[in-house]
Symmetry: D2
Subunit: 339 residues, 4 copies
Amino acid sequence: MSTARLFLSDNAAPVHPAVWEAMRKADHADNPYDGDALSAELDARFSALFGRECAALWVATGTAANCLALATMCAPHGGVVCHREAHIEVDEGGAPGFFLHGAKLMLADGEGAKLTPQGVAAVIDPVRNDVHQVQPHALAITQASEYGRSYSPQELAALGAFAKERRLGLHMDGARFANAAAFLGGSAEQAARAAAGPVDSLAFGFIKNGGMGAEAVVLFDPEAASQVRYRRKRAGHLQCKGRYLAAQIIAMLDNDVWLANAAHANAAAAEIASACGERLMHPVEANELFVRLTAAERAMLRTEGFAFYDWGADAARFVTAWSTKDADASALAKAIAAL
Amino acid sequence: MSTARLFLSDNAAPVHPAVWEAMRKADHADNPYDGDALSAELDARFSALFGRECAALWVATGTAANCLALATMCAPHGGVVCHREAHIEVDEGGAPGFFLHGAKLMLADGEGAKLTPQGVAAVIDPVRNDVHQVQPHALAITQASEYGRSYSPQELAALGAFAKERRLGLHMDGARFANAAAFLGGSAEQAARAAAGPVDSLAFGFIKNGGMGAEAVVLFDPEAASQVRYRRKRAGHLQCKGRYLAAQIIAMLDNDVWLANAAHANAAAAEIASACGERLMHPVEANELFVRLTAAERAMLRTEGFAFYDWGADAARFVTAWSTKDADASALAKAIAAL
Amino acid sequence: MSTARLFLSDNAAPVHPAVWEAMRKADHADNPYDGDALSAELDARFSALFGRECAALWVATGTAANCLALATMCAPHGGVVCHREAHIEVDEGGAPGFFLHGAKLMLADGEGAKLTPQGVAAVIDPVRNDVHQVQPHALAITQASEYGRSYSPQELAALGAFAKERRLGLHMDGARFANAAAFLGGSAEQAARAAAGPVDSLAFGFIKNGGMGAEAVVLFDPEAASQVRYRRKRAGHLQCKGRYLAAQIIAMLDNDVWLANAAHANAAAAEIASACGERLMHPVEANELFVRLTAAERAMLRTEGFAFYDWGADAARFVTAWSTKDADASALAKAIAAL
Amino acid sequence: MSTARLFLSDNAAPVHPAVWEAMRKADHADNPYDGDALSAELDARFSALFGRECAALWVATGTAANCLALATMCAPHGGVVCHREAHIEVDEGGAPGFFLHGAKLMLADGEGAKLTPQGVAAVIDPVRNDVHQVQPHALAITQASEYGRSYSPQELAALGAFAKERRLGLHMDGARFANAAAFLGGSAEQAARAAAGPVDSLAFGFIKNGGMGAEAVVLFDPEAASQVRYRRKRAGHLQCKGRYLAAQIIAMLDNDVWLANAAHANAAAAEIASACGERLMHPVEANELFVRLTAAERAMLRTEGFAFYDWGADAARFVTAWSTKDADASALAKAIAAL
């Protein structure tokens, strides 16, 4: 596999050197669980980044991060509105049903797998306000979306206002949060704040972006943070050598590695996108490309050593990563242009 | 903390060099989740070790390992009999209630936190066989126990026969399985088989014994294994870079590192034990010591640089690890002898 | 309300005299829960009716009946395929999520709110057979459907074969099972067997058809029956004076009251239907009519004393019951014809 | 069974005539679920009785009433402290685990199955305030207790103050609330208020006291009431012909039937108690007697036609009811005295 030019998924990428180094530096005895010095830094680091008070807890997966956050804002008898193609609906093996004790996902439509106030209203306005129907308690959006689209600050502000008006919690699945932030641009603080908008909680992904096994659940509501601490343990997600997870996250925050890595992946995606023209199914606003390609065309690309997933019968998905080689991206762009 | 002579907990120990090396070796792109080459080896490796067919899945914590296994043998309306001081009852934040959807822990007594058929019968025989009372579905035992006691093959055989007779599943929490195996002795295969006995499932702990964040759920029932694969994902425990967890486990199995590490910790414990005499509250059959010490005695030991937990008002708990220095163990033994 | 000509819902109807009489006859001390003589009759009565061995347990609501049965055939990590407009999806307040511990409802399409093998396949065939996606464990159909359509024996046989082939449980929500049976015709045994087809479990509704607060969960799998006994208690549905529930059900079975009541309701619906012509949105195969009526037409009917629910902006729903007066049905038919 | 002199359980008693009458009076079409006129009266009726604002919802069983109330005050990751012999722990088939999504029952000791602040503190003070241990969220007490003991207003005030200090919810299982109230004495309002004390919620039992299948969940916290409305539906406990349940409860409240029935049962118990002397295992403060009787003595009583349950090897439990005949109580008293 290692000799292929890989565009399968960023979750197959290796671990960034800075992360390795930080983990090795943490390799001494320290207090277990999250009692170590590194874990203790997280709240302050993320509060500084986002410019508002928050708590940040490490967990091993985005699935756990999303579900632990959602459980604080949606009661078991409530519902979470998400896009019909959201990862939590399609690809998390029913985890929200488990962590939220049977709460319901309420599926909305929206271009590019993005929600809008209108799209959400179309789902929740018809819900009768009675006990026979599950009432919405929260919204969950993905930044960047499942189709590699980024929410703009304006779009996030509109969703935040809508959520507030309807008394809904607002959670963000940020498996590729860094890619959205890099797309929106600016300093680390500017980019992070633009990409997060007014969300109540964020699953800030590091694993696809150079980490090994640590994501951060970022909670802007202190009561929610207290709940998540208990729920994390209860879900078997409080690792006893937590310092190795904290080290990963801090390494990514230090020197804005998270943003630089994402910018690299985005640039690779942009270069490939520039060769795709009309073939692109969605604007490329992060590190994923959905490209119309016939079976013959895909076969040809694979002959040239490119590895990627089919996307239905007539398209392919390419994902770039922090580790994508410039030469591979250029080669892919040329190969597509030459088809 | 690093300059102290640490006997706090083996879960504070650093990561073994062989584990680091294996993780670094795995640092290339590979299939995500458990689709990588290393994860694919696990079933065969554990089947060989135990001499019977099994499936083995990595997870990040012992809590998850225990609960995922128990959920396959106890329905939500059933109960799991465990010792009153079992870790799953006392120290897992209610995780069994979460993973088993409200199933009940039924608390039995037994010396040294070990269950016996008699102790279990005393709990389940009075349960009326009607729907008003929760019926037992499974037994959970800890090897080595919460007091550092190891079940002998004879004790395990008796529990296995009892479980079979009563149609109960039999699960083993093996957070310190290696220490029990090392205590029972023999080759890796002999020790592993002696320590596991006829259990249906085992949470085989590696983290306290030199790993970083990987335990193995070992399932001797193929149907259970299939269920656990789904439940692991659903619980957010299917890490996308799973190869780094598989690498840790395989590193521990290679060259019997798991057994050698545990033997080292046990030897350190034995040396300290030899100085404790009547002070010992429990025979030392693994790597934990529960030692009667007055507050003044404990203060004196701490002055000498020893770090450990109080155990109630009149005792202390010392835990040795793979990384315990011989000199520290000897020093502690001498210090206790000198009290 | 009592002077209106009521076509709101059959669940607003009073209790049938035979049911009252049986309840009064049960009004003496007897063993609590389901230890009484009447509850003990149920298994045999339903086994005789359906011509195959089954267990039958009373519960107070159709919601409980459906969910208790479904929980025996769908694990918490699995899914139940039902129609997008099924009552369990739309109107049971998320009860399946509660009773099935977070299992997922997978929504299929089909004319008249009825499932077909093709419609189900369209939902489950795209599900990848991996742990990231919830796998289907069961099908749930409604007889008669939410649009008053009845499954024919041929349709049920096809669904049964499909379910068997795909290893899915097959449950029937029979809130209006009697109406479907009456529509299919024949003796009580013939009608019941035709309407149930090869289902694994049936929520046999009596409340809308003359009962007060007793439905029967009918389980054709003995292992499922044993589970439901425990789960019923655990859900707070094992009433201590259960004999009054058993009495209701037996009163409905005696002299085929259940079938006669349903036939009466169906006949009233048929008479009204005959006046509706092109206005009918669905063939009338039970006791519900969905009729295209403008707001002005509905207002006119209400002026004449008819009570019914709007069905969207341009239609109305009329439901007949065992207690619908012939004169009211005729009057409604005439009033609609005269519009 | 009907010819025996029954002292088995008050839950085997028939239905009181006033309840029958009210149910028959409700036998006309009305709005389904709890939209009927009778259900609408409940909040006001109970608010007047208790002299403080509350919401009151009918459900079919005490198990459901207890668990629905507890779920509003204990999160899934929390614990409910109850007596080791509490009905919710011993005899509800694990229902709290189901309704509270895996929350833990924390078992306290106390004479006569009654909790005291000291007894509760003995359980919760040792709980470390960390995420590894389940934290207490609520207390549940039973009035009258499982041994027929009534909490005095002073005892309730002390528990209420303790609960407030520790920020714990306080729930009362009132399966025999009326018997405790009758024991405490005074007018209906006085007795009800004395027996309820400062609880946050009460499962007010009517079924053992003359009802058929309706208990009231009384919630003194409006937010809790709103939650319970949704959770009741979700648990399949929102019956569609709810008016028959509301009718039962109102019939019991009208003319203080609930208090008169309980006073009758208590008087019968007191008469029997007066003959028991040293045989009594617990003071008789409601309608249950626990009496030391040898196997031979019990056999003799049964020969004389008395029906009752053994209580272990050397005792018996007798329960009187609203329907206990004076002659039967006198006869039992004489028979015991004559032993």
